[in-house]
Symmetry: C2
Subunit: 135 residues, 2 copies
């Protein structure tokens, strides 16, 4: 069902410091930056091989990532797996009894089709599935 | 410096339930299982493309993962990046001012060479570097 890890989403308090760490120290290429208003984040994508790191800086304290930072501090926020057909993946996961945050996909960063599974049915891991736009 | 995401380590309370989720529902192949006594965990590796998920079940409450579960509950525990030469990567990271948990690599799961960076210098993300044994 899952082709690879698409990205790991990381909640950060200081986006410039995080970009310096991942780009300069770790040597990852910064490939995309977008304010995803719908999700209340300033998001930065960096390449690491076929995978990505997604740095997430909240647009305000009442956003999901703002609340996450207040509750848990900075760190890993979610994991995203790449799927070739998100509608089929959602149908299969629902049929398997998984609880979905998104019953239908929505548009995520860089025009991708994304949906989140609920941590209550994933052992506490906020899990996203992603169909990149070029699939 | 980093070739790809090697794996994401996930702390679990119920290893059998987690294996059922990742293997049966997500369709990942379980490729390896090992009690890593040194780290106090029963560890299970599953393939997802070129990446892995590493399920971590503590061998006791006083282990690092046992304490993590007591403090934070189940969920994402660490991210590991693959490197072609771990000694060079450690030297480069140290030269860049990163704080290391392991100044020298040690033997991790499946005979790999691994080292951890301290979350204090990675924005709260427990970060591992891994040189697989077949490199």
């Amino acid at each position: 069902m899952f082709a690879r890890i698409d990205h790991v989403g990381i909640a950060v308090e200081d986006l410039d410091a995080a970009i310096a760490l991942y780009e300069s120290t770790y040597g990852m290429e910064l490939v995309y930056r977008e304010a995803v208003i719908d999700q209340g984040v300033d998001a930065v994508l960096l390449d690491v091989g076929e995978n990505h790191v997604e740095l997430l800086s909240p647009l305000g304290p009442d956003t999901p990532v703002g609340k996450f930072l207040a509750r848990k501090g900075p760190g890993m926020h979610h994991i995203a797996y790449q799927v070739p057909d998100i509608e089929r993946a959602l149908a299969d996961l629902k049929a398997a009894g998984m609880r979905l945050i998104d019953e239908e996909f929505r548009i995520g960063i860089r025009g991708s089709h994304v949906a989140f599974l609920h941590p209550a049915s994933t052992g506490g891991v906020l899990t996203e599935i992603v169909q990149p736009v070029d699939h």
